[in-house]
């Protein structure tokens, strides 16, 4: 079971990574990051079956952190949207070189 869960977790992580790499919408990119975090959560839970309950505790903390990140991320995206009227990251190129 552990191996399957870990493989699934790794696949989800890679899907999230690819999502960050190929998507242009800031919110979708952020969702992909959340997917990565939750993939890790899956690993934690899978390991906790063998290593003890603290794995589930870690998941709680990760969820809290993810929520805080989500709040801050949404706020920043709103702030950017007010300036650019878009959340397509291709347009955010004021800072370069």
């Amino acid at each position: 079971m552990l191996v399957e869960a870990l493989v699934l977790s790794a696949l989800l992580f890679v899907i999230g990574t690819v999502g960050v790499l190929v998507r242009r919408n800031a919110i979708i990119m952020f969702l992909s990051i959340e997917l990565m975090l939750n993939a890790v959560n899956l690993s934690f839970v899978a390991f906790s079956r063998y290593l003890g309950i603290e794995g589930q505790l870690y998941v709680f903390f990760v969820m809290t952190v993810a929520a805080a990140e989500a709040a801050v991320g949404l706020a920043i995206i709103i702030a950017v949207f007010r300036h650019y009227e878009t959340v397509n990251v291709d347009n955010f190129n004021l800072l370069k070189w």
């Binding site: 960050v20 790499l21 190929v22 990251v89 291709d90 955010f92 190129n93 370069k96 070189w97």
Partner: protein, 727 residues
């Protein structure tokens, strides 16, 4: 790793007292005085600078295009003298005088004590922990004492000269602040008891040089000259850093005493390590002392005020490389290849710079190339193991070259006033516009001729003794006999060329008809006393300075007044404790070869030949140039063809450097800027230039947009990192 000595300063001084009888008198104060002067003048400069910000701004709009116009601009403004302009007059030269007096007292004490081992005075533990323990310590020995005498003595005279020369400049306090700071760092350089302390001074003098070259920063070209000096010196500094690094890796310490004591047993004679160390040291030395390949900055450094050229770019800072080789004489003695490289570079530079000097028309450029050439002589000397001879020439050169530069400064000063009086748009530094100045500037003319005879090597002037000693040693050195024969030949040719171009300079400047113009000629005048008195003192030194190191055989001959001189080879004996270790190594390794002249003849014979040759050349040049009708700069312009053109353009070295160094570096910078940032951000394939279509396709992968590109690079990096770790 050796544990450093942790002796308290008091204890060390006590050792110094009982051990050798040399009791230094407030040596720290010698360093502190110029620093104090810097602080006072620096504050005054800031006050003046912020007050005159508007003046500077309006001056910038006027865009003066020569140093004299700049000086003159201030004449017109004729601002009332304020404390910021009167105080530096006393503070600047004052601290130098104090430092000079203290140095002299210490010098006399050392003279009387018969000091053998260097006196190290530790102030505090600078880098106290770890395997590298470095103290903030100064080392007083014969070498550093001679250097200090030159720096404070000549430095004081140049400070006094500067009072007259720079008085009208709005940057007057700033000028003295920089100059004092320079002296402080130069003293740190020569007194440091270990490489890091020396490096502090090394970097510091570079910084001051850079500040002073760009002193008239309103002028773009002059500001850029400072930049050039800066960049070239970076290369040299890197060499020095590397040398220090290998030294530390080898010895576990960077203190002179410990390294030089351990070197003969730790290092293999002629081995790779010591050769690498010394070659890196040599790279550092060539940077600071303007030798091939790093000499290009010095002629451009003439953009600074002329007294600065005299102090920094002739008398003191540029000799740091010579000092470094002499200081590390033990290491160079252990590395015959590096020593030969030092001598070869010196000889090549000497000859090369002398040829360029032949065809220059700018009076300061002639002196700049002459300086490079003379530094080449010093390199030859320390390269062949004649450390005392190198230091001897360093000292006499400081006298007569400072005199020449200051004299040139007086000439330029006068020329400029004359040209300005009639608003003539001519170059005040071009010798073709001068001629016949001896009628207007009698004292300057006399003093400069003395310096010219000295540098040409004519008996009984200082240069005769120091230069001919070097030529003698080069001709008799070992172990690569034929090489030294060639170097010796180059040295003799260079000496003749020196006599020639110096005579040419003097004739063009002071003799023949005046080419400045009718109206202008009336305004030519002698410099004020604050400027001529230092010239006079330097002239005396240029005459008598050479008499301190006359070999016994010469002393007994005609050249020494048949034994009338009070001492023989005084400097050699004085320097003996410093060079003893290196001499011992050379004697042990090269005993069979050392000092066998390949050309025969003794000191006296060669003295006759050399002075005869120099006099012949001077006379020939005088005759040649006096009879020649010299066109003015406007009539002639730059030489258009032939060898003269190559010489006039300094062998095209600047252009060469631009092609092979500056452009590629700029190119690399631009390349990485584009590739690392732009291509990966915008993915503009074309930006890279001629890349194949395959790369283009690959590049287009990056063409997606920035944030994703960043994430992409991040992910690639992550893959690479994991790949390295796991596989």
């Amino acid at each position: 790793m050796t544990e450093p000595s942790r002796i308290a300063p008091e204890a060390l001084e006590a050792v110094a007292q009982t051990g050798s009888g040399f009791n230094p008198l407030l040596p720290g104060l010698i360093l502190l005085l110029p620093l104090l002067g810097f602080l006072v003048n620096g504050i005054l400069a800031l006050i003046a600078g912020s007050r005159e910000g508007n003046v500077l701004r309006s001056a910038a709009l006027a865009e003066p295009d020569s140093e004299e116009e700049r000086v003159d601009l201030q004449h017109k403004e004729d601002a009332p003298r304020r404390a910021t302009h009167t105080l530096p007059t006393w503070v600047g030269p004052g601290v130098m005088l104090g430092a000079f007096i203290l140095t002299t007292l210490n010098f006399l004490r050392m003279l009387g004590s018969g000091l053998q081992d260097p006196t190290v005075i530790t102030y505090w533990s600078w880098m106290p922990t770890g395997t590298l323990a470095v103290d903030a310590a100064i080392q007083l020995d014969q070498l550093s004492m001679i250097m200090m005498m030159v720096i404070t003595g000549v430095g004081f005279l140049i400070h006094v000269f500067s009072v007259g020369y720079m008085k009208e400049d709005p940057g007057y306090p700033r000028y003295f602040a920089y100059l004092n700071l320079f002296v402080f760092f130069m003293l740190v350089l020569v007194t440091g008891a270990n490489f890091p302390v020396m490096f502090v001074g090394w970097e510091g003098v570079g910084l001051c040089s850079y500040l002073l070259i760009g002193f008239w920063f309103q002028d773009r070209e002059k500001a850029d000259a400072g930049k050039k000096a800066f960049i070239v010196n970076r290369v040299g500094d890197f060499g020095l850093l590397m040398a220090m690094f290998i030294l530390f890796a080898t010895f576990g310490t960077l203190n002179y005493q410990e390294i030089f004591a351990a070197a003969p047993t730790t290092l293999v004679y002629g081995g790779g390590v010591v050769t690498a160390i010394t070659l890196f040291l040599l790279l550092g030395a060539t940077g600071k002392s303007a030798q091939i390949p790093l000499f290009v900055w010095l002629p451009d450094a003439m953009a600074g005020p002329t007294p600065v050229s005299a102090l920094i770019h002739a008398a003191t800072m540029v000799t740091a490389g010579v000092y470094l080789v002499a200081r590390a004489s033990v290491l160079f003695a252990l590395a015959p290849v590096s020593a030969a490289a030092v001598a070869t570079i010196g000889a090549l530079t000497a000859l090369f710079a002398a040829t360029i000097a032949l065809k220059q028309y700018d009076i300061k450029k002639v002196l700049a190339y002459s300086t490079i050439s003379q530094l080449g002589f010093m390199f030859m000397a320390v390269g062949v193991g004649a450390y005392a001879a190198g230091v001897f020439h360093l000292m006499t050169h400081a006298f007569f070259k400072a005199l020449l530069f200051l004299g040139a400064g007086a000439v330029i000063h006068s020329m400029h006033h004359a040209l300005h009086a009639t608003h003539k748009d001519w170059d005040a530094q071009d010798m073709r516009n001068m001629g016949g100045l001896r009628r207007h500037m009698k004292w300057t003319w006399v003093f400069m001729w003395i310096a010219t005879l000295a540098i040409a090597g004519i008996w009984p002037f200082a240069g005769f003794f120091s230069k001919d000693e070097i030529i003698w040693y080069v001709g008799t050195s070992a172990p690569f006999g034929p090489l030294y024969a060639v170097l010796w030949g180059m040295a003799v040719v260079t000496a003749a060329l020196t006599a020639f171009y110096m005579a040419r300079m003097m004739i063009l400047t002071f003799h023949g008809p005046n080419r400045t113009g009718e109206a202008e000629g009336k305004h030519l005048h002698e410099a004020p006393l604050t400027m001529t008195i230092p010239l006079g003192i330097l002239a005396l030194l240029s005459i008598f300075g050479g008499w301190i190191n006359v070999p016994q055989s010469v002393r007994d001959s005609f050249f020494g007044g048949f034994g009338m001189l009070p001492m023989s080879s005084w400097l050699d004996e004085w320097m003996a404790p410093v060079t003893a270790a290196a001499d011992a190594i050379r004697l042990e390794q090269l005993g069979a070869y050392a000092y066998q002249s390949p050309v025969g003849g003794g000191h006296v014979t060669w003295g006759f030949i050399a002075t005869g040759l120099a006099m012949a050349v001077v006379l020939a040049a005088t005759w040649y140039f006096r009879s020649k009708d010299v066109p003015t700069a406007v009539e002639q312009g730059a030489p258009r063809s032939g060898f003269g053109k190559i010489l006039y353009n300094k062998w095209y070295v600047d252009e060469l450097y631009d092609r092979i160094i500056v452009r590629p570096v700029v190119g690399i910078s631009r390349f990485s800027w584009r590739v690392v940032d732009r291509v990966l951000i915008d993915g503009t394939v074309n930006a890279v230039g001629a890349v194949s279509k395959g790369t283009g396709w690959f590049g287009s992968l990056f063409q997606t947009g920035q944030l994703n590109t960043y994430a992409f690079i991040l992910a690639l990096g992550a893959l690479a990192l994991l790949g390295v770790l796991i596989f």
